[in-house]
Symmetry: C2
């Protein structure tokens, strides 16, 4: 179906308003402005910037991020790193505990092919597994993941971070690469406290820490407050979405991705049904009570999704109400998961299709 | 990447427990039993059964459903119908209002290639659009979608259903195909009342109604209570999922799909993190407060998902707690959306891979 999948999408020069729906579309100019705005901030604050490609999974977009000044990329899984390594990227940080024989084998194949592969670990199990595999191979850089309040992965205390760093230093086949954190928003002081304490402990151990990698888009413009950080990672900023608007990172006019959909039914005066459901918008609420913001209809609410239908409550609409056949531009709650649903992404400039890219790293295991 | 996507998956004969994760897997025997159980019920009650392929999007599975006795298939979008028509299926009902020039063109191409294409409509806009396109072409069967309480698409009253049926009868290029409803669970009497009243009105108009198509898995075993129905549509029953267990349609032992994942971190005594996040399980809650049931750990709760991580709260676990590297079998809240995330589906019998199928109809627009 691959050829067909491309055939049915769109041609350069098509009008966005004429495209069949549902499908995500990306505004080239807004995306370029998002890349530029964030890179300028990182440059102004002397932070190396490592974009997370999980948001778009498209090598051409990562190339634009690097051309703007980014240093290396961030991947969340080996398959993403494989796709981007094949596209010529060398400095790749996989922020994930890699476990199991198949993943270790794929990881070492990848490591043989590029210069700057790095992974993270937050346990002796992960470190020892990496060491056993890489003991007689090209040494692999491993960063210690720290839970500075994000509540996901990561060692819980600076002492634990220092101990795990020491274990990496002493492990065959591994090189200590530094520290990584994915903090909760607005927690710069907590991050700085955890990291600076860890760096002090490492110093007493005589362990050099080449990289301190902070992350996240929501509080991206507070990255300079984490003075110990040498780099920042962020993904969502390239497209932005409704949750980033709510977090104050951007405005609706900075949202480069819309899900283009069509009103297919108006069963009652207060109900519209669109052709974008959970297989186009995803069910990510991200703290919202509805499933996206409809441009031009601020009082309309997407109250429920089935797989290929979205139900819109129009009861609060004081002005016009969308008609059957009308195209709606929806700002999704979360862009990264929408990218993951479609094999192709359509880009446009002022409403005219500028290019169609394969979402090359989606649909894969690992 | 297509070849690679297959290459990284699994080989027939592999042990499921050895597969890399995260990935959905399907138990062949449970799936076969689900197909047989539902088909037997439909046969015993004299109902034609039309499986909805949106759940699996795999032609080989629809072939097994038809081999068991199903009459035709149900698709939710044109791209699904195109994939299944190319695989040899002729009797296809697309339960969607088809609007817009590109979709109408694709629909007529499809209609030229198969014998039994049918679509639905719930408005004069949809009917008139279909009629304008098919006026000088091979006539298309159009069924009237009725909202019998489901609250999605559909005309609201039997009178409106009868009027729209009459418009189809009188429209150039169209043939009235019957009535369709997708009701809310446990509403057999409401469905029967709406449909029987509509049939009476059609009779007074002298309009024959060849098909009355009822639908849904949750109350599937009440389908015989809708005595006016000539056929039933259902998708989820082939795999089943956590929401179907809650609805009383099946037990956990009837759930054929599991999402296989690995514990990658144990940051605290009460927290485990797995490699299955919203890009493997989806964020579909379907009324639950957590994101799936973990086989063997009934007290563990998947409390939050990021894209490639799932956070599990172990605080209520009185027995063993999962260890780093341990594989977990998760019954997803909703299987149909999980199928949509992966390019391939791995099937197994007693834990040994029996086949790997491409999820042929996923990732497409339209």
């Amino acid at each position: 179906m691959q050829e067909n999948r491309f055939a049915v999408v769109a041609e350069v020069g098509d009008r966005i308003a004429d495209l069949s729906t549902p499908r995500p579309i990306v505004d080239e100019d807004r995306m370029a402005a998002n890349i530029s705005r964030v890179q300028s901030y990182m440059d102004a604050n002397g932070l190396r910037f490592r974009p997370h490609i999980k948001t778009h999974k498209i090598p051409a977009l990562a190339a634009a991020q690097v051309a703007a000044g980014a240093k290396g990329i961030n991947c969340q899984k080996i398959s993403e790193a494989e796709v981007f390594a094949a596209a010529g990227f060398e400095d790749i940080l996989i922020t994930f505990n890699i476990l199991g024989p198949q993943k270790l084998e794929r990881l070492s194949e990848l490591h043989e092919n590029i210069a700057g592969l790095k992974v993270v670990a937050d346990s002796t199990v992960t470190v020892d597994g990496l060491s056993a595999h890489f003991a007689d191979r090209k040494p692999l850089a491993v960063l210690v993941e720290c839970d500075t309040g994000g509540g996901r992965c990561g060692v819980q205390k600076p002492e634990a971070a220092s101990l795990l760093a020491k274990r990496i230093v002493e492990a065959k086949g591994l090189v200590f690469g530094g520290l990584v954190t994915y903090p909760k928003p607005q927690s710069a002081s907590d991050v700085e406290a955890f990291i600076s304490q860890t760096l002090a402990l490492l110093q007493t151990e005589g362990i050099a820490c080449p990289i301190v990698s902070n992350g996240g888009t929501p509080s991206l413009f507070e990255a300079h407050l984490v003075t110990s950080a040498t780099e920042h990672r962020a993904g969502t900023y390239i497209y932005n979405d409704r949750s980033m608007v709510r977090m104050g990172h951007c405005t609706e006019d900075d949202c480069a991705m819309h899900v283009l959909s069509t009103v297919v039914s108006r069963p009652t005066a207060d109900r519209a049904v669109i052709d974008a459901g959970s297989k186009a918008l995803t069910s990510d609420l991200h703290g919202f009570a509805d499933f996206g913001a409809i441009v031009g209809y601020p009082q309309a609410r997407i109250t429920s999704l089935s797989e290929e239908h979205g139900v819109i409550d129009l009861s609060n609409c004081t002005g016009d109400r969308p008609k059957i056949g009308e195209k709606l531009f929806i700002i999704p709650n979360h862009t990264c998961v929408v990218s993951n649903l479609f094999d192709t992404m359509v880009f446009h400039r002022n409403g005219t299709v500028s290019r169609v890219e394969e979402v090359a790293a989606r649909g894969l295991v690992w």
